[in-house]
Amino acid sequence: MTQLRPPVTVGPEQGPALTRFLRVARKSWSAAVNAVDNTPLKYVVAPLRAAAAMPRWVWLVAIALTLGSVWSFGAIANIPQGMLVGPTVSRAVDRGVDWMVVNWDVALRSLNFALLQHFLLPLERWLVGLPWWLVAGVVALVAYRVTGPIMAFLATGMIVALAALGLFDLAMTTLAIVITSTVLAVALGVPTGIAMAKSNLVDQAVRPVLDLMQTMPSFVYLIPVIMLFGIGKVPGVIAVVFYAVPPIIRLTNLGIRQVDAGVVEAGRAFGATGTQLLLKVQLPLALPAVMAGLNQTIMMALAMVVVTSMIGAPGLGVEVLNGIARLEVGRGLLGGIGIVIMAIILDRITQGFAKQRQPARTTVAR
């Protein structure tokens, strides 16, 4: 490989100090180039070298264009009107959503109603109705079982803090939404993940959709949801589900694909059907990964609940929103603290569950 060296010319009249410096500089430059050659950085450097080796006129044109842009390009700066499709696309999407609003109204409305009446509201009522000391006790017990005494002690303290800060009811409302969305996300995500694991075609089709869902800013979900479901708890839940479902899909898929092929083959050799294989071999062995996905999903749901307070989902997020709207820093801060406390407790407990499943998995015979 050719090495680039800085053009160094040393005249006879220059002093020995400078010569020494230039020699050292040249050496370290070539050392640096050699070092780059052995690292992934070479993929960055190679195109630069290729650019450096371009004919001179390419450089001249590029420089001329860049300098020219200091003054206006005038009309040629813009894409021609005929090629401008942005407004058309957004109008088409609008029309599509309008169509859905009109034609799916009954179905969406009944879904909204069913979810609200038969799941979300009873759950919320029950959670809010619980006395804070009972919740603290149960959380302490569960934390003790899955993580240990320190976490149990901390969790109890944090629930007491929630109650003392007057955030307990709001936290339970938020919890109701998080639980509802997580249940929906699991119900949606695990089967999708299984389908992706079982078929490469489904995998290739769903993967870009997941990428899209995860790169889309969370606010963008709110717009169609408002159009379709209006404002309130259920649209909040729907937006949260969309936001939080990718990790559990991905990790279910990954978990099943990572199951030792030898174990799966053994299952097949003993006459297991596809369903038996899934239930008795693949899912149990994928469980740690699925649990990790569940943990991620719950965390993302909690993060999104705050955002959905903008479309009328009640809970701790509303406090934060109001704090911003009314410039009440204290109120916003308390809401934030409440969310952090819930995040810590939920995260530790679900991670503890995931770890409990771990030992059974480390056993693939080598």
Binding site: G262, A269, G271, T273, P284, A360, A365
Partner: protein, 408 residues
């Protein structure tokens, strides 16, 4: 009854268009040519063999010879491209999905090189797995699993997880799991290759002991010729997806069909594998007990032998008569051979290994230079001479430093 398992002209081609390769001139080209020109791998080429009920059939070959593919094709874990696999006369390649599942559940048991145990289940639940997928009642299947855990000597470990077991013990679980549904055919894919040599030998002996009792039909895959010779009643040797020779261990050792097989068998300690049968010769002079000394003398004279074997009417060995004793008796005009018979100082069983022949004769003074060879029922089938025993001893000595063969 016909053979248990018949494999006829089985082909397997890996690649995007196996049928096109099979139905063109590529069918007759070598594996490398086909791979280079078409990107297809001929993993099995026209393999055929038969396995009798209760027989242990060993398929031996180096890695990449297609032996693992072969055993998977027999269960359709890999779908063969062409051919027939008949079990009890039924072609499993014609089975529907449901029939195939039933076949795997009821007729076949498989043991894997890497054990393939379910890490999230206890030993007992692993052993019961085959019955569980059949839908057998929990109590029944656990009872059966318990029996098998005891058969393979793992009592006390029922509730352990596989990860806490050593390799040998894990493979015992694998064996118990394969035996639990009481399959008719046992497929063993290099079952002992992942174990260290000491445990491997122990497991081999254990399997032989079990097999003595169970008499299952076993398809046993291995890359170790020593193991093949030990386990197999019949052996097939594979190369590049084709079977290059099949026969009994003795046939493989004594008459390798080509250089490839010969290369394998070269280093094998034959004395540990071959039996006396391979070195014995037909008995020289045979006289019946009812014949007189004159007849015996005549026979020995004709054959220029110093002694004759005396047998009863069922060809059972009664003893030996020397030329000297017989001729003296003939001179005296005695008509009875009976009292001239002496016991042969050594009687060699035909099924004894050459090794044990050497140990038997190590203290023998060779006062009589011909030893009778008898079947288990006492029938005389041959003789061994001092010279051939010496040859065996020399050959064994020459191979002394050779370790057991493991071609990989």
């Amino acid at each position: 009854m016909g053979p248990k398992l018949v494999v006829r002209n089985l082909w397997k081609v890996f690649g995007p268009h196996p049928q096109q390769v099979l139905h063109s001139e590529w069918r007759h080209k070598s594996r490398n040519e086909v791979l280079q020109a078409t990107g297809h791998v001929i993993a099995l080429r026209d393999t055929s063999f038969e396995v009798a009920d209760g027989q242990t059939f060993v398929v031996m070959g180096l890695s990449g010879s297609g032996k693992s593919t072969l055993v998977r094709c027999l269960l359709r874990l890999i779908e063969p491209s062409e051919g027939q696999v008949l079990i009890n006369g039924q072609d499993i390649l014609g089975f529907h999905h449901h029939q195939l599942i039933q076949f795997r559940r009821k007729m076949a048991g498989m043991v894997f090189q890497r054990f393939g145990l379910l890490p999230h289940r206890t030993v007992l639940d692993n052993v019961a797995f085959g019955l569980e997928v059949q839908g057998v009642d929990k109590k029944v299947r656990l009872k059966r699993a318990q029996e098998l855990v005891e058969v393979v000597g793992l009592q006390g470990w029922e509730h352990s997880y596989p990860s806490t077991l050593s390799g040998g013990m894990q493979q015992r679980v694998g064996l118990a799991r394969a035996l639990a549904p009481d399959p008719e055919v046992l497929f063993m894919d290099e079952p002992f290759s992942a174990l260290d040599p000491l445990i491997r030998r122990e497991m081999q002996d254990e399997l032989l002991r079990l097999q003595e009792r169970l008499r299952k039909t076993i398809i046993f895959i291995t890359h170790d010729l020593q193991e093949a010779l030990k386990m197999g009643e019949r052996i097939a040797i594979m190369r590049d997806g084709a079977i290059v020779q099949q026969g009994t261990p003795e046939e493989i050792l004594t008459a390798p069909s080509d250089e490839y097989v010969g290369e394998f068998t070269k280093d094998v300690r034959k004395a540990a594998v071959l039996t006396v049968r391979s070195v014995m010769r037909p008995p020289g002079v045979l006289v019946s007990a009812w014949q007189g000394p004159r007849a015996a003398v005549h026979a020995m004279h004709q054959a220029e032998e110093e002694l004759a074997f005396v047998v009863d009417k069922h060809e059972r060995l009664l003893g030996i008569v020397t030329f000297k004793a017989a001729s003296e008796a003939a001179m005296k005009g005695s008509a009875c051979l009976q009292e001239l018979i002496t016991k042969s100082p050594l009687v060699v069983p035909a099924d004894a290994l050459l090794e044990s022949l050497l140990t038997m004769t190590v203290d023998y003074d060779w006062s009589i230079e011909v030893l009778p060879v008898v079947e288990a029922d006492g029938r005389l089938v041959g003789e061994v001479r001092r010279a051939s025993v010496r040859d065996v001893a020399l050959a064994a000595k020459a191979q002394q430093p050779a370790a057991p063969v493991s071609p990989q």
